[in-house]
């Protein structure tokens, strides 16, 4: 697979990109910090033991970077079969309530800009007859919950978009994979106390890679979160209003 990857410098993206590189996928990294991209590219090259990993600047806050970055990826890889997006932003509900500007920024990064990036990627993939688009949303988007009102809303919007994209273009060869991580121990969540069933990035990467290969439209990772979220989705409103999560 030839993969353009937005968000491989840290967290689950780092783990997933490593698994891809080690099994022989060709990678091209997109991101907002040149030095971080270079360091991650070298890591992936040594792990792969062959080939070069190119990079290009692409910042979700700067939509004008999307097109050129994807063009660079297509050029370097000789066409792209898959686009992966793990990039995203998190902040606690308290922080977002206290700082409206930050809340707006989060909504833009996680929702409107991510959708705009996916639109750019989708057009290009469809032009080649399809491919795979794998985007990290979150379990936080599955239900309106007190501690993630704003972050959850951004991910709820993203999940809906990805679901529709899969309905709309699967028969044209574009397979959309929406990843819904539960709590995963990355630096994004390092300040929080891990709940039971917290996952490790590499285990998530393994689950996600299998889902991409099989073209599954939705994947919960770690998988147990599928059942946890099933229960949470079934909870009546008056219960959700009482509980703290």
């Amino acid at each position: 697979m030839k993969v353009a990857f937005l968000g491989a410098t840290r967290g689950m993206g780092r783990a997933l990109a490593r698994r891809m590189a080690e099994r022989g996928d060709a990678l091209f990294l997109l991101g907002r910090q040149a030095e971080e991209l270079e360091r991650s590219a070298r890591d992936l090259e040594v792990r792969a033991g062959q080939g070069e990993v190119g990079t290009a600047l692409c910042d979700l806050e700067q939509p004008e970077t999307f097109g050129p970055a994807l063009t660079a990826a297509e050029g370097a890889l000789g066409g792209v079969d898959a686009v992966v997006v793990t990039a995203g932003m998190f902040a606690s509900q308290e922080e977002l309530e206290a700082e409206p500007a930050r809340a707006l920024r989060l909504l833009e990064i996680n929702f409107s800009r991510t959708v705009a990036f996916c639109e750019e990627a989708r057009r290009r993939l469809l032009r080649r007859g399809g491919g795979r688009l794998c985007v990290f949303s979150s379990v936080a988007g599955d239900r309106g919950r007190k501690p993630v009102a704003i972050y959850g809303a951004s991910k709820a919007g993203l999940s809906r978009y990805l679901e529709a994209l899969d309905h709309r273009f699967r028969d044209q060869g574009l397979i959309t994979v929406c990843v819904k991580p539960g709590f995963v121990k990355t630096s994004m969540t390092a300040g929080l106390d891990p709940p039971p069933f917290a996952g490790e990035p590499d285990a998530v990467a393994k689950t996600v890679l299998r889902a991409i290969d099989r073209g599954r439209p939705v994947v919960y990772a770690p998988p147990i979160w599928r059942w946890i979220m099933l229960v949470i989705r079934l909870m009546p409103r008056f219960v959700m209003r009482r509980v703290g999560f």
Binding site: T9, R39, R42, D43, R47, S187, A190
Partner: protein, 436 residues
């Protein structure tokens, strides 16, 4: 709460992040995978946080011609093994567990079964990139800031935060091991066996039943090995081993003299023939306990400590004999005791190894642990030996001074690079009497 491998907790929390330089800035200490047993990787009293390196785990470069690997400090030995063994390169030093970081290996200047031949990890380290107490970032090596470099090997994180490590790997003929195990009936045979094997074998180690007394004192298994030649080894690289998780803490009484004695006897008798040999999986040879994830929980809620010391062989085996005798009289309920002959003293100003015989044994924590350790320390001091800081949790500052004439010189270098004493650990407060 945070704790070392011995599960003796202290208040504290680790702050994790991929960018170690940012995370460690202003912190008293950096911690790796927490495989040191005692309080080396715990914050000093009054500080709530230490930096954690394990997410800073990228390989930065590898040159197969010079064998030089450069990686961030949180890169683990386990990953190194997994990636480089199949390509016929190995870390020049392999510790009893692979769940350690490069930073932790350098900070403890670790040794392995090949110490008699290849020395500690420090002798294979070319450069370090460090974040200093005053916030500067420097590269140090034998050529530049040599004092900092040598004080950092074995310096237990107290000279600065290690950000990146440049290590020279070894070429290996295959990723498999040819190993031999031989039953040794008593101490003299054992020590002689180790010495003879050292001349021919790159890897040697002994497992001694330290509960056996009288004629059997010092009986155990002598294990030796070398990297297998391609003609002997399976053609495929070793697959990852199946792992078992120890899910819960066992009650503390499970580990007592009787269960330890039974285990030791079974271990000693596990091979029927006096001598066995064959191809071994490198993980079972180097990191045998790693198949049991969380095995430290078997010691129960009270936790355990490892006593690791080296005893010079100035008067033959008398020191080792005396130490084993003391273990018996103190009634230490220990599983196997690991015996390893050390080669020369390395360059690290405070590194553990020096010529002689090292002994390490796990001891469950009970009410009298401090007295017990003090008695063992006295014996080590008398024999002219010293203890290993990566294992220590209970030695007193006074005993440590008595066994470490090198301490003063190391402290001078440390103060040069951290004049305000910003860097400290729970261990440095207890053992080095740092004041804050």
């Amino acid at each position: 709460m945070l704790s070392g491998w011995g599960r003796l907790p202290l208040p504290g929390r680790q702050v994790l992040g991929e960018d170690l330089e940012r995370v460690a800035r202003g912190m008293p200490l950096t911690r790796g995978l927490g495989r040191s047993y005692g309080d080396s990787a715990l914050p000093p009293p009054g500080e709530a946080r230490v930096a954690g390196s394990r997410l800073a785990d990228r390989i930065l470069s590898f040159d197969p011609d010079s064998c030089v690997l450069r990686a961030e400090a949180g890169f683990s030995l386990g990953e190194l093994n997994r990636i480089f063994w199949p390509r016929r390169f190995s870390s020049p030093v392999l510790t009893g567990t692979q769940h350690v970081t490069l930073g932790g290996m350098v900070a403890a200047d670790v040794h392995g079964k090949n110490h008699h031949r290849d020395g500690t990890i420090g002798s294979h380290v070319r450069r370090l990139k460090m974040l200093l107490a005053d916030g500067r970032v420097v590269e140090c090596s034998r050529e530049s800031h040599q004092d900092l470099f040598l004080a950092t090997l074995g310096g237990m994180g107290l000279t600065g935060h290690i950000l990146e490590v440049e290590l020279v790997l070894q070429r290996i003929p295959s990723p498999w091991i040819w190993s031999e195990a031989e039953r040794m009936g008593g101490l003299d045979r054992f020590l002689a066996g180790l010495e003879q094997s050292a001349a021919e074998w790159p890897f040697t180690v002994g497992w001694v039943d330290c509960l056996a007394t009288g004629r059997h004192r010092g009986r155990g298994l002598l294990i030796r090995g070398r990297w297998a030649e391609p003609s002997e080894a399976p053609s495929e690289p070793p697959a990852p081993r199946k792992r078992l998780v120890i899910p819960v803490e066992l009650p503390s009484w499970v580990l007592n003299r009787l269960s330890a004695r039974t285990f030791n006897l079974l271990y000693y008798r596990k091979q029927l023939r006096r001598r066995t040999s064959g191809i071994a999986h490198p993980e079972s040879f180097f990191h045998p306990l790693d198949v049991l994830i969380g095995w430290n929980k078997i010691y129960g809620p009270r936790g355990f400590t490892q006593y690791a010391c080296v005893i010079p062989e100035t008067d033959g085996t008398a020191g080792v004999r005396r130490f084993l005798g003391l273990l018996t009289s103190l009634g230490v309920a220990s599983f196997l005791c690991v015996l390893k002959d050390f080669g020369g003293e390395g360059e690290g100003m405070l590194s553990f190894p020096k010529p002689g015989m090292s002994l390490s044994l796990d001891i469950p924590v009970r009410g009298n642990i401090r007295e017990m350790i003090a008695r063992l320390d006295d014996c080590v001091i008398d024999c002219g030996g010293r203890i290993y800081l990566a294992k220590d949790a209970f030695t007193s500052a006074e005993s440590f001074r008595a066994m470490e004439p090198r301490l003063k010189a190391w402290q001078e270098v440390r103060r040069r690079w951290d004049p305000d004493g910003r860097l400290a650990s729970a261990q440095s407060i207890r053992l080095l009497e740092d004041r804050r």
